[in-house]
């Protein structure tokens, strides 16, 4: 079964990126047909129920198995850290704004 976020959310974007890696690897001869089948099965299996927080670990496991995903792991891994930092900053910012507007509540 497809993950609920697969058609529109981050899972779709993730699957698309990984599929592009697979296609490029097959085209260049870096990935055999059997490896292609195995990797695609692995991706489908793992992304069925994956949460955003687990992406980093998943990409590491994937690139450990097949080096053709190394690039995506580095790029996506960095992005996940950035996303987390941005999320924290956004929350802090909202909190400070709320303090300014409602000083009495503190």
């Amino acid at each position: 079964m497809q993950n609920d976020d697969a058609s529109t959310g981050f899972v779709h974007d993730l699957q698309k990126k990984l599929l592009n890696d697979v296609i490029a690897a097959v085209e260049s001869g870096d990935m055999s047909m059997s490896e292609m089948r195995e990797a695609a099965k692995f991706i489908l299996d793992k992304t069925k129920t994956i949460a955003e927080a687990d992406v980093d670990a998943f990409l590491k496991e994937l690139s450990d198995k097949w080096s053709v995903f190394k690039n995506t792991q580095v790029v996506e891994g960095g992005k996940a850290v950035e996303d987390k930092e941005k999320e924290v900053i956004d929350k802090l910012s909202a909190y400070i704004k709320d303090m300014d507007v409602n000083p009495a509540t503190n």
Binding site: Q2, A6, S7, H12, Q15, K16, L19, N20, V22, I23, A24, V26, E27, S28, G29, S32, M33, S34, M36, R37, A39, A40, K41, I43, L44
Partner: protein, 681 residues
């Protein structure tokens, strides 16, 4: 061997992956291109395709290219790359050409003439050799070379068969070949239904047996009742009588006990009185006291005797009671057994009911699948043609050649011997009807006559053509009948069967017969019946002869007899009668025909019509071929070779156990009856 093209292709790709030969560049590009095109539509589906969970025709095609490319001519795999490029080019060409053939862009003969076509035929032959449906057939051909040759010949037929063409075409795009057929479903349902039917019958037998046991036990148990048989109320149960007797004995003995006990009590009282008397008597009166003492002793003796009687009676009571207890135990045992059997019958009946429900569903399903079965039967008839083509072909074809030559000769002789000029002309016309001016098969005339012959019986308005004395005008009755006013008069209407119409049309088209002659013959019902029957046999024979092989069909344009046409012939008045008459004339060979058909119907009870009605379309098809080849469907007074090896070969080819060698030596003149029905309306 993997049974799908997809698996074969994947297997081939996997083998080449382990080799040192770099096949990957071209193949990888093809696969990547296919995935990229798919990814533009749907990422998830593309991943499923990459995982091998869905099929992409483009990737399958790329894999097939590799699989054919790495196969050596002997079927072994070459993953080293030697000759790979050459084979790959050839493989690609083969697939391309095959696709063109399957898309009707290339004629089969042209396709077969190419190296690629031969590769496809060879591959198809290998596929057919391992097809489960043909296992039994090929198992009968023990010689390897003969088996491979038979497979190749079958492949040629198979590739030309419309159904098979479609199947192979699909196989190039998809995987499972010949899977999920209605026929498979039908066979499975029928097998399951038959199994369940047998089990249901077993349960019925069990119920019957249990009921018989219960009945027997109940009848024995009833002997414990006063009236075991309500229909005979005066009869008393055997065990009831015995128990009643025992109870009566006990009652008697109890009476003895009571009587003796009373007697003892009285005697004891008397003894007490005597003792008192003894005490009161003066001691000196020894005589009196001695007398009293004697009386006491006598009384004590009486008590001892009475007590002995009581003991004896008590023993009898105990013995008889034991017997009664044993009978009571018996009765209870019967009751328990009966109850257990009743429960078993109940549960068995419930099981049977469930089975009946399932059986009903299976029967309904089977009925629904009957509709689809027609297609399979058509396929089966096509298969007959395939079988006809190979293995047995030469013998049968030679026989058909001889039969036709003899029939032609007989017709020519018949025409030569005829005195009546018009009859003579008619017979001459018949003799040359299906030949061209240079003596070759006239496919057009055969097709025309066969098409006319297939028409349903109906009324025609036939009158002299006022513009041409050698012609009549023929108008078929409209589907909704003749108009209420202005329709043809009664004397101008004729009810004609298909063959009668075909015969009239044939005469009319020649322009060689006077209208008067034709109108006269139309009124001669006996002549019409006889001649149309002969004509039907002739057309059928000519059609079979003209369509006997692929090349002949191509030359003459005459198609093979289809299952629908066979059914039509069987169901028509004239066709059914034609087969009946041929069987009647051939009845001494019924057992041999049965062997060839794999049936026991023809030698069984009933009329020919009933027997024909029970034969399947496939069997009818075979019967037509057998009778046609043996000459039984040919014109009167002809003699032909025996059914012999033809029946045997067909029987063997169909996987029956028939050897049918005994059919040989028949060759009697087989007279076709006059089944056509003609009457002036």
């Amino acid at each position: 061997m993997a049974d799908t093209l997809r698996e074969v292709a994947q297997e081939a790709v996997a083998k080449t992956e382990r080799s040192t030969f770099d096949y990957k560049t071209d193949h990888g590009k093809q696969v990547a291109g296919a995935l990229r095109a798919e990814a533009d539509r749907d990422v998830f589906t593309t991943l499923q395709i990459a995982a091998g969970e869905q099929v992409s025709p483009a990737i399958l095609r790329a894999n097939v290219d590799v699989s054919i490319g790495i196969l050596r001519a002997d079927g072994s795999v070459d993953a080293t790359g030697t000759g790979y490029a050459e084979r790959l080019v050839r493989a690609k060409g083969a697939v391309d050409r095959a696709e063109k053939y399957f898309d009707d862009q290339v004629d089969f003969r042209d396709f077969l003439g190419t190296t690629e076509g031969k590769v496809v035929v060879e591959s198809t032959g290998k596929f057919l050799l391992t097809h489960p449906a043909l296992t039994e057939y090929f198992a009968n051909i023990t010689n390897t070379a003969q088996r491979e040759n038979a497979a190749k010949l079958l492949a040629e037929q198979y590739l030309q068969d419309p159904f098979a063409r479609e199947k192979v075409r699909q196989a190039l795009l998809d995987s499972k070949l010949n899977k999920g057929e209605v026929g498979d479903d039908y066979s499975e349902t029928e097998a399951k239904r038959a199994e369940m039917d047998a089990k249901s019958k077993e349960l019925e037998a069990t119920i019957r047996q249990l009921e018989a046991e219960t009945k027997l036990l109940k009848s024995r148990r009833a002997e414990f009742d006063r009236t075991p048989d309500l229909r005979n109320p005066t009869r008393i149960g055997t065990e009831f009588t015995t128990i009643a007797g025992l109870q009566a004995t006990i009652a008697t003995q109890e009476g003895v006990v009571a009587s003796k006990t009373s007697q003892i009590r009285t005697t004891q009282a008397a003894i007490a009185a005597l003792r008192a008397q003894y005490s009161a008597t003066d001691k000196s009166d020894t005589a009196a006291r001695s007398s009293i003492q004697g009386d006491i002793t006598t009384k004590n003796g009486e008590i001892t005797l009475a007590q002995g009687d009581i003991d004896t009676a008590a023993q009898k009571i105990a013995t008889e009671q034991k017997k009664i207890d044993a009978y009571t135990e018996d009765r209870k045992s019967y009751d328990d057994k009966i109850e257990a059997l009743v429960q078993k019958i109940k549960s068995t009946k419930e099981d049977k009911q469930k089975m009946s429900d399932e059986l009903r569903e299976l029967t309904m399903r089977k009925t629904r699948l009957e509709a689809g079965k027609g297609r399979n039967e058509e396929l089966a008839v096509a298969e007959i043609e395939n079988i006809f083509k190979k293995g047995v072909e030469q013998e049968l074809m030679d026989r058909l050649d001889r039969a036709k030559a003899a029939a032609d000769k007989a017709m020519e002789e018949s025409a030569a011997n005829e005195k009546d000029i018009d009859e003579k002309q008619y017979l001459e016309l018949r003799a040359k009807r299906h030949k061209t001016a240079d003596g070759k098969i006239d496919g057009k005339a055969i097709k025309e006559d066969f098409a006319a012959m297939k028409k349903d019986s109906t009324e025609y308005h036939v009158i002299q053509d006022p513009a041409d004395k050698n012609k009549v005008l023929i108008v078929e009755m409209p589907a909704n009948g003749w108009p209420a006013t202005g329709g043809p008069s009664g004397s101008e209407k004729y009810y004609l069967t298909g063959p009668e119409f075909a015969m009239l049309q044939m005469m009319n088209n020649t322009n060689e017969f006077g209208g008067g002659f034709m109108l006269g013959k139309l009124k001669d019902a006996e002549w019409m019946k006889q001649q149309s029957q002969d004509f039907a046999s002739q057309v059928l024979r000519e059609k079979m002869y003209a369509s006997r092989g692929w090349l002949r069909r191509r030359q003459t344009g005459v198609k093979r007899l289809t299952s629908a046409e066979i059914v039509k012939i069987k169901n028509s008045t004239w066709g059914g009668q034609m087969l009946e008459n041929a069987l009647e004339a051939n009845k001494t060979k019924a057992a041999e025909l049965d062997k060839a058909l794999g049936s026991e119907l023809l030698t069984g009870p009933g009329s020919w019509r009933e027997k024909l009605g029970k034969l399947s379309n496939k069997q009818i098809g075979l019967l037509v071929l057998l009778l046609g080849t043996s000459g039984a469907l040919l014109a009167p007074a002809l003699t032909f070779g025996a059914l012999g090896s033809a029946g045997s070969a067909l029987g063997t080819a169909l996987g029956s156990s028939s050897t049918a060698g005994a059919i040989a030596g028949g060759g009697a003149g087989l007279v076709i009856g006059h089944a056509g029905r003609s009457r002036s309306a």
